[in-house]
């Protein structure tokens, strides 16, 4: 994060996201200066993550855990890692949380615009894939999003993985994130061609749980998303295998425990006085 900003091409876009604004680098020089003087860059939120997906007889099942970490601490115990791309396409994200969120949002809105321009024809997974990978390739891996993209379009079910540098794979079953090895071991042991929906759901849930329990970067709950010709089924918190084991009942604070120096009721600024035509109040 220091002097390499000049290498990042922000002037012109390629591919379909060329309309999106480039990043603002005004503060980059200042930040690298104060970092050189010894100030630590605060850590970005990461999703340590287990994400995965399988293709089954007539659709795709995507799965994700729900832990997001900031170093060694859990920042969010129940975050959403299966992102909306289109009504028939969803995308699991691992890596820097802001990057996965922003990248998938950008592609979702670009596809939405694309549907407006094409008589609402159903978006194709390959279009989403191309938009994602050309965006990631443009930033040379600095936008650190590792994705599992799944969907159902005119050509049937599709499943892709996209790496932060912009490469991609088309696979019948795929895993990503720090728990990818744990999840893949379940897939390698249990994957069959042409599974039923129930078999596929169980396999994906087991793979995610394998990541949740064996990888410290993944945890909490299991989210699933099933996409078929008929539509999607988003099963948020499909399984919650990690409830809090113990909670003391003895923590309660009587009124007056906390020492107060001053207490004031603040004047409300947005109270509307409905008589005549007053000037609009715009003070912050």
């Amino acid at each position: 994060m220091s002097s390499s900003y000049g290498d990042i091409n922000v002037s012109g876009g390629i591919g379909l996201d060329s309309e999106s604004a480039p990043f603002n680098l005004e503060l980059a020089r200042r930040n690298s200066m104060i970092e050189r003087q010894g100030m630590k860059l605060p850590r970005y939120l990461k999703t340590g993550t287990t994400i995965c997906g399988v293709v089954y007889a007539n659709g795709v099942v995507l799965g994700a855990d729900t832990r997001s970490t900031n170093g060694d601490t859990v920042a969010d115990k129940n975050c959403e890692k299966i992102h909306y791309i289109a009504p028939n396409i969803y995308c699991c994200g691992a890596g820097t949380a802001a990057d996965t969120e922003a990248t998938t949002n950008m592609v979702a809105s670009a596809l939405n615009m694309h549907r407006y321009g094409t008589n609402g024809r159903t978006s194709r997974v390959i279009t989403a894939l191309t938009m994602l990978k050309s965006h990631l390739f443009k930033y040379q891996g600095n936008v650190s999003a590792a994705l599992v993209l799944g969907g159902f379009d005119i050509n049937g079910p599709h499943l892709f993985t996209v790496y932060p540098h912009g490469s991609s794979d088309s696979l019948p079953y795929a895993t990503m994130g720090s728990g990818s090895l744990a999840a893949m071991s379940i897939f390698e042991a249990g994957y069959k061609e042409n599974m039923t929906k129930e078999e596929a759901m169980k396999l994906v849930a087991d793979a995610i749980k394998s990541g949740v329990f064996n990888d410290l970067g993944s945890g909490s709950n299991v989210d699933l998303c099933i996409i078929t010709k008929e539509g999607k089924e988003y099963l948020r918190n499909y399984e919650c295998p990690n409830p809090r084991p113990y909670a003391s009942q003895s923590f309660s604070f009587a009124k007056g425990t906390t020492p107060v120096l001053r207490s004031t009721m603040l004047t409300l600024k947005d109270v509307v006085v409905e008589e005549g035509a007053d000037a609009m109040e715009v003070g912050a």
Partner: protein, 201 residues
């Protein structure tokens, strides 16, 4: 985050929400001010707390006020908490490779007076929560106390006592935050601001 120090917590209750910050401003280990508030009012039912580099906190709070004023001129209404959170997220992610050194915490009541809180990292990754969010130089300590003391459906008074205990004990082991705290309790009928007494060292 550890240059100026500071701590911010937002916590939900039943039809109320509260946000707290400590009052210290320092330059590394030297304390500069002991009445430095890190929580800003966006409108009557929406507050934003910032922790991090003080210069960026000030710039951001001014840009938030500016953007909210523009919104009001155009729409003749206040922003919903979710709208504001998305605005903040985009303002931060715009500077993905040259970020503001500040972590915002947003707390407000939505149009049905239901609490909404969300935390964010410095490049705008939202982490909305149903219980509490923390930010600052002592975020681990704050996580510890909040995780132990928070309970669902607290009324405004219980929420104040709980949050008060959390912010005061949370910053006690952090030498970059402290010198008392300020709490804003937001209810459908009004905002109460309280200044808390804490250790002065």
């Amino acid at each position: 985050m550890s240059y100026n120090g500071g701590a911010v917590i937002a916590m939900t209750g039943k039809e109320c929400v509260a946000i707290a910050c400590d009052l210290r401003l320092g330059i590394q280990n030297q304390t500069i001010a002991t009445d430095y508030r890190k929580v800003f009012r966006v409108h009557d039912k929406l507050f934003v707390g910032l922790s991090g580099l003080a210069t960026d906190m000030q710039t951001l709070s001014q840009r938030f006020a500016f953007r909210h004023n523009l919104y009001k001129l155009r729409e003749e209404r206040n922003m919903k908490p979710t709208t504001f959170a998305n605005l903040v997220s985009h303002m931060l992610y715009e500077r993905r490779f040259g970020p503001y050194y500040a972590e915002p915490v947003i707390a407000g009541l939505d149009e049905n007076n239901q609490p909404y809180i969300t935390g964010m990292d410095l490049i705008g990754a939202m982490a909305p929560a149903s219980d509490f969010v923390v930010a600052g130089s002592s975020s681990e300590s704050l996580f510890g106390v909040c995780e132990s003391f928070w309970k669902p459906d607290m009324d405004a008074e219980t929420l104040f006592e709980t949050l008060g205990q959390c912010i005061l004990t949370g910053v006690n082991r952090d030498c970059l935050a402290g010198w008392g705290a300020a709490i804003y309790i937001i209810t459908p009928t009004g905002i109460t601001a309280k200044t808390l007494k804490g250790r002065q060292d």
